[in-house]
């Protein structure tokens, strides 16, 4: 029989949460920067740049994130003949993964802004960059809040995959606790509940942000 699941065991799980958050946040920031670049390349006037962006997006959206993680983790080891610790490998893998998804979300948001908005700005003597900055991006940002937060929630849960290569975040901590307590039916529901406690407030935040922006702009919802 294993140990009982008590305060110490719970504390062990709680201590793993910062790693889940750090990985999610790191991937979000890195992927966010990458995503902005990809979104702009996707609408760029130069065709080779658009192809480059499309190729990257298709590659990372069309393959399982687990395979991406393996390829990055073992790939670095094989290519450079060095054993990298899991942390930089998972961060890189999730950054690339996030960049592809965020880039596609944001491109969609930019393209959702009606053509006449660009034209109206153009007719006020604004050049392409100013049309984008003053008129299109602020509106695209508003549209992109729900899918971006949706992806953030998805990302936090997906980082659990990192457990497989031994990176100790929340899920890996749960596995380790299960091994010592032999109480998977206590440990895993607790782990799941902890993910929920992280993700749910994010969804609430997104909803209230959306409502506040709509109210400020006098947008009338028809439902």
């Amino acid at each position: 029989m294993g140990r009982a699941f008590g305060t110490n065991e719970l504390l062990y799980l709680l201590k793993a949460i910062p790693w889940t958050l750090a990985l999610s946040l790191g991937a979000l920031v890195g992927g966010g920067i990458l995503g902005v670049v990809v979104a702009i390349l996707r609408i760029a006037p130069l065709r080779p740049l658009r192809w480059l962006a499309v190729g990257y997006i298709e590659l990372f959206q069309g393959t399982p994130v687990l395979m991406q993680l393996f390829v990055v983790y073992y790939g670095i080891a094989v290519l450079f003949n060095i054993q990298v610790p899991p942390w930089p490998a998972v961060l890189l893998a999730f950054t690339l993964y996030s960049g592809a998804f965020l880039g596609e979300i944001w491109r969609g948001s930019i393209e959702a802004i009606p053509r006449p908005q660009w034209e109206a700005a153009e007719c006020l003597s604004l050049g392409f960059a100013k049309q984008l900055w003053y008129v299109v991006l602020p509106q695209a940002a508003r549209i992109s809040i729900p899918p971006t937060v949706g992806f953030m929630v998805q990302l936090i849960k997906t980082t659990s995959i990192a457990a497989i290569i031994g990176f100790v975040e929340l899920t890996r901590a749960g596995q380790l606790m299960t091994n010592t307590t032999f109480k998977p039916m206590i440990v895993y529901p607790v782990v799941a509940a902890l993910y929920f406690v992280i993700c749910w407030p994010l969804s609430l935040l997104a909803q209230s942000l959306e409502r506040r922006i709509d109210a400020a702009l006098g947008v009338k919802k028809h439902f």
Binding site: L126, K130, G218
Partner: protein
């Protein structure tokens, strides 16, 4: 010397010839109303004037300087030519004041202080100075269109284009927009309007242009065109407008 002179403007969309050798001169202070059925090329002609559409052939002369249609220099004419659209196209995320100051500041390099003074001035002209802090979503269609007119005026254009600006409005809101147009016309603004407001065209236009199949079919003072159309096409167009909209009968009057 006319302020604007279009010479032999032609434009195709695929095999469809939208504009066929259109030439038109607009004098300073002149109000030109373009009428015609939908698909006759009216809006495309307007969009060619300020470079939103690129004509396949023809030249545009503005204040004596001639440009190849669609050239970079022709696009720079936007600083001198304002446009108001059918669907207002206000920026929904910006206040009325910022909608108006954006062009003068970001487009023309005016200081924010100067631009704000100008915003107040143009809002007074359209009677909406009390809406300066509102957002477009909080205004009626007629108010939004008046803000759009104010936005165009704040650029201090020498010519303003109006693209069916009352077409999307409920009947009871058309009057307030038409009154603004009439004030502008009376103040000597040079204006080219694509319009279905026959009453306005008759009262305020100096010249009415009837377009048909991508060409200027008839052109002249409103009294001549409305009372004695020279072609069967214009006569049937006027009949059609009157039968669809009985109130136009009174307005054409």
């Amino acid at each position: 010397m006319p302020l604007l002179a279009l010479r032999s403007i032609s434009k195709r969309f695929g095999a469809h010839r939208v504009l066929d050798d259109v030439s038109l001169a607009v004098e300073v202070g002149e109000v030109v109303a373009i009428i015609g059925r939908s698909g006759s090329g009216k809006s495309t002609l307007l969009r060619c004037i300020n470079g939103l559409e690129r004509p396949d052939a023809g030249t545009i002369a503005f204040a004596g300087a001639e440009f190849a249609a669609g050239s970079r220099a022709a696009k720079a004419l936007r600083r001198e030519i304002g446009i108001v659209f059918q669907s207002y196209n206000l920026f929904p995320h910006l206040s009325v004041e910022r909608n108006i100051t954006l062009g003068p500041t970001a487009g023309k390099g005016l200081s924010l202080g100067e631009a704000k003074a100008r915003a107040l001035k143009v809002l007074r002209m359209v009677g909406l100075e009390d809406k300066i802090a509102a957002y477009p979503g909080q205004l009626s269609g007629g108010q939004q269109q008046r803000v759009a007119i104010a936005r165009a005026l704040a650029m201090e254009p020498r010519l303003v284009l109006f693209d069916e600006i009352t077409a999307a409005l409920d009947a009871e809101l058309i009057g307030e927009v038409v009154r603004v147009l009439e004030t502008l016309a009376a103040d000597g603004m040079t204006m080219v309007l694509v319009t279905h407001e026959m009453g306005f065209a008759r009262r305020s236009a100096d010249t009415v242009v009837f377009m048909h199949q991508g060409r200027i079919w008839e052109k002249g003072p409103p009294a001549t065109l409305f009372n004695a159309p020279a072609t069967a096409e214009l006569a049937s167009f006027i009949d059609a407008v009157l039968s669809v909209d009985p109130s136009a009968q009174r307005r054409v009057g």
